[in-house]
Amino acid sequence: MGSHHDTVGARTGMWLFLYTEIMLFGGLFVLYSAYYRMHAQAFISTGQELDTVLGSVNTVILLVSSFLVAAAITAVQRSQTKGAMALLTGAVLLGMVFLANKYLEWGHKFHLGIYPGSPGLEDSPPGRIVFYGLYYTITGLHALHIVMGMVLLIVCIAMIGFGRIQKERFLLLENCGLYWHLVDLIWIFIFPLFYLIL
């Protein structure tokens, strides 16, 4: 029953799923653009409170990890099992570094008393509250996606170890890779919106 050897179809399904992820974050970006228009000055001044260096480092980390995932697919195609597992492990580790950076960044802000509902934030002008509301929502949701992506990559590592992903059968890895690239791509939009253009 079914069509388990139709890899094109399985990839189609994955792409369709990625569309839904784009729409999910799309809703948030719509909010961002509307609020940016309403509170341009507050957004600009608040945006400068974010650490551009940390943001840039995280961007580089994600780009490198995406490269590692792509390289792992090539390694699997060449039957270099150990190499593929090493590359994926590298990507997962980079994901962890990304989250550690995020933890530091959020922790620092919390330390300064800036978090949703905090007394320090409640006294600010409205634009600043909305900015941080969006900041925490969007980066938080993105971090959640990073965690899910890491779980998927770990599953792939295990599958390669068990021989379930191999030269002729790497659809799962390809689809998980697509997901990781998408999470990466979403960050590519988040990064300038919060760290660069303001």
Binding site: M1, S3, L16, Y19, G27, A34, P116
Partner: protein
Amino acid sequence: MIPRPWAVSTERNRAIPMGETMSNAVTSFYDTPFPARFRGVWSWLFTLDHKRIALLYLGAATFWFIIAVVLGFLVRMELMTPGRTIMGAETYNAAFTLHGVIMIFLFVIPAMPAIFGNFLLPIQIGTDDVFFPKLNLLSWYLYMLGGALAIVSLFADGPPDTGWTFYVPFSVSTQTNVGLTLTAAFILGLSSMLTGLNFITTVHRMRVPGMGWLQIPLFTWSLYATAWVQLLATPVLSITLLLVVFERVFGTGLFDPARGGDPVLYQHLFWMYSHPAVYIMILPGMGVISEIIPVFSRKSIFGYKAIVGSSIGIATAGSLVWAHHMFTSGMSDVAVFVFSFLTFIVAVPSAIKVFSWVSTMYKGSILMTPPLFFALCFIYLFSVGGLTGLVLGAAGPNIQVHDTHFVVAHFHFVMFGGTGFSFFAGLHFWWPKMFGRMYHFKRAYLSAILIVTGFMLHYVPMFILGLQGMPRRYYDYLEQFAPGNFFAGLGALIMVPGLFLMVINLMVSLKQPVDAPADPWGGTTLEWSVPSPPPLHNFIERPRPGKYPYDFSRVRTP
């Protein structure tokens, strides 16, 4: 003795002596669990067979439908006389909220794609299952989980009282358990989205060789257009509901004007999904009607390509009209003008379909059956619903009738008269295919007449009440609105027994032996070429789709 008008013979049927049926020769999917190792109830709970999953949905959706009907009935009984009739104001708020939430998220949105779509889409395109059978089962479990959460939200901290739209700021500040209901709606959205994803992939990759895009039956076409809306619009609702949850839990302030947020943006985001969602609800229903009308007119559908095009047109244009729900929310006049104009545009493809159905019947050889009767009621009720939609879509009249009972009557004409009646029509049309049994015709007609009579008496007074200015959702009203509300309640008293009669009539048929022929009506699409009920892999030999799905030249009426 049950009347058997389906004994009209078609060429295919004539090969089978009456009384003996094809179903006996082939083991049906009921007797063939898939995966084969599961038995009894497990063969249902772990099934990967699209037909069994469809029936799982049918069972659950019927349960929810009955609950929501009873809730709606109680709301109407409360409103039958001014002041307190049978319940207090708090209970009333909870009752209409749950009626809306259950009807929309647990019945109207999932019913048609998940029940008929799952059962018939693979058969109509000549294949053995959907592309992702496991994902299909997961969707059902998500649906059940969402439903379970909706029940739990009833009993923890009081039922939600926001209405099904969850408008901020009330949904953020109310003390009732809105968070849980929002989570339920989020999960149900996920379920519907995954079904859509599955259908798109299935239609693209699994059509039987020889079936091009313009040989696909119209019901499958409508599901395909619907699936895109499910896929692209649902995530927007998901994020919106999630934001309200964040708002309640963390106080992010994104929709709070005191903290720089804008509640109108919530409405934008909400309707960006929820308006396309009404097309998720109606498009498959239009597909059902497009199947039924040609079969009982013994005539090829008028304007096949126009109907296909209008399905896509509705899906596209319907995604661009969301803000017509917000003409009085404080938008710019330009936005009001643009969205009003776009709303009128959507009427065009819908009207194309209505004209096509009516033209199909013109000079056809019409055979009256319960499915056709429901379908004809659909055409009338849907047209009234659609035309009153234009009253609402026009910016001027909208100001007068916004948030009044006019709106309630309009969307019940579309959602109940449209989607509901097409669902009933489809249920009576495909019942013999799904269960291999025919139901009692006279009782089916009687139930249809009761429902449609009660329906008119129920909702027409609401149009008048709305024009007179009675707001929706109010617990109490002025003396001058009393007659209208009384008649509406009277309509409910006729309609609800009709609904129960219909359900009971269908249930009773299950006691009969399995004796429906493969093609009781003389249909031409592929589902009528397989036994009723179909075998596990649907087709005994690879189907050969015709050049055109509605070629009736080989179907004969006696």
